[in-house]
């Protein structure tokens, strides 16, 4: 069958055509238009003017206000990634050592939330972290503190909620790798005299690195482009790139400036992803694969 079809070279292109048309019209064109939009000018009275100048980029890149926003954005991304690694990797390891029946249940509890709207999950954290929230009630009730802690509208609150939202990706991608490891390598290390601790850090973690790296990449890029969680927990004060773009588009109506910020965010994230991939390929190509 394949032999006959392969001679007709046009077929794969015809088959891909619907998808290509959808993406050409609905993705490629809008992105190009947005890119052009970022060079237009905006005036409060005149509205958007067709132009080509770098004014918006100059505005963003010369204003310490925007620096702070980008710094915060990537700070959240980095902290969330680190937390996800610190918590997600041991959890994936523990899951992998469990009896398969239990593992199936807990895996469901951990990755199931990925299919529940981020708005709902973040609402949970708003309720937990609020000044009258459950966490403060518990803290005060147990006598650990007399005045409520401020969790909400703080960096801490945003990072915790982001970690909760994104950590399933880390657990899942690390677990996917661990699952394929030869469990005998752990026994081999033990027979050579290694302790449980040594086995984890010297044998398991190094082998799990491809999973940790791909998990980190997903968590980092989603954390830096997150919108709902920083908007709901961070509020007006702790603006990140996404919420700033939202404000420019729907409140200030300075679309060109918003588009410029979006382009910078896009380029920054793409740069991180690509250099990361490059690094991973160079460093680990010979060991794995």
């Amino acid at each position: 069958m394949s032999g006959v079809l392969q001679r007709k070279a046009g077929i794969p292109y015809w088959l891909s055509l619907p998808g290509v048309m959808l993406f050409g019209v609905m993705l490629f064109t809008p992105l190009i238009m947005t890119f052009m939009l970022s060079f237009y000018t905006f005036d409060f009275y005149e509205g958007i003017e067709r132009a080509f100048n770098l004014g918006n980029y100059a505005d963003v890149l010369s204003d310490s206000y925007f620096y702070e926003i980008f710094l915060r954005t990537f700070g959240y991304g980095l902290s969330t990634t680190v937390l996800a690694v610190l918590l997600g990797v041991p959890e994936a390891y523990i899951l992998n050592r469990m009896h398969s029946r239990w593992r199936a249940i807990f895996l469901l509890a951990i990755i199931g939330p990925l299919l529940i709207s981020v708005v709902v999950r973040t609402l949970g954290w708003m309720i937990l972290l609020g000044n009258q929230g459950l966490l403060n009630q518990i803290l005060i009730g147990s006598g650990l503190t007399s005045t409520p802690f401020t969790f909400i509208y703080t960096d801490f609150g945003v990072i915790v909620a982001l970690t909760h939202v994104l950590i399933p990706f880390m657990v899942v991608s690390v677990w996917a790798v661990l699952q394929r490891l030869d469990p005998q390598t752990e026994n081999a290390a033990v027979s050579l005299g290694a302790s449980q601790f040594t086995v984890f850090f010297r044998v398991v973690v190094p082998q799990a690195i491809p999973g940790i790296l791909s998990g980190s990449l997903i968590v980092f890029s989603l954390a830096t482009s997150a919108f709902a969680t920083p908007a709901m927990i961070g509020g007006r004060r702790l603006k990140v790139a996404s919420t700033t773009i939202y404000d420019e588009f729907l409140n200030t109506l300075d679309w060109p400036l918003g588009a410029a910020i979006a382009m910078i965010l896009l380029v920054a994230i793409m740069t991180v992803i690509m250099s990361y991939n490059r690094l991973v390929e160079r460093r680990y190509a010979q060991v794995f694969q």
């Binding site: 005998q184 026994n187 033990v190 027979s191 290694a194 010297r202 190094p206 060991v287």
Partner: protein, 353 residues
Amino acid sequence: MSFLNLQEISKSFGGFVAVDQFNLEVDKGEFVSLLGPSGCGKTTTLQMIAGFLDPSHGQIMVGGEDLTARPANQRNIGIVFQSYALFPHLTAAQNVAFGLEMRKATQGERQEKIDRALDLVHLSAFRDRYPKQLSGGQQQRVALARAIVIEPTILLLDEPMSNLDAKLREDMQLELRSIQEKLGITTILVTHDQNEAMALSDRIAVMNEGRIVQVGKPHEIYEDPANVFVSSFLGKNNLLAVEVEDISGSKASVRFNGQSLTVPCREGVTNKEAWLSIRPEKVQLTDKGSGLLEGQIKTRVFFGNHWLYQIETASGEFLVYSQNTAVPNTAPRDAVGLNWQADDARLLNMDAS
């Protein structure tokens, strides 16, 4: 007293008994194989010696010390796993170094031992390769080097050759035996390959369904199997149903086909009905009418150094190996006689015990 002493060890998983009252004594420097069909509990036994499984009952003694409760990482036992279990993120040399690091060996000592171990397995040129960059045979030798570099008290090998092709397997068997003899290390090999077990071991422990059936030198077990299971698991044999007339000491007189024969007999044969077991290479083809048994040649197959005959007799099918010394003058459908020395036959109980 022996060096390694497995006393009555048993292991059950839930209600299933995987290893049942296993007794084995191994001397220092001895090479013992555990041989048995798949699922008979070989790996389980090995894992208990290594400390990865706790025996449900029994004791494991090494050099007079009770190791039963000692954690696996303090037993100083080297293992080569069936999958090799090399650390994929470490080079060959780093793999070998791992156990030395755990023992806090000094840098100099470490280097020297790694060099020596890699040299022993002829891998010095490959020290900086990762496992993925090594062939199956090379990986296996790294695994061996990693296990012996820590100078373990016992070396355990779990079907180390099963992933190698036939030619490489033979080479590695010879190499393994010579390394083991050079180091004088007490070794236990798990295998279900009877040739491997016979070629390598000082002694073989044949297992079936979690129990040891027979222990002994390869030649002894082959020549004098304890029961039908052992005789058919190790090599081929022909079984002839006979009637036991009289047993006196280690001789028994048996009847079949209206003739009497006096044959060697193990202790424990009691039944009136028993099997007479004769190895195919011990049977000679003779002219029609002059054998202990008469039959007709069904097939004849050439194996290089010998011919294999399948012969139809009144008491069932017989296998005969005959040395390839000259072009045989027999052909399929020829009627022939089968003959053997009475001393080459063995009398075995009909039931498997």
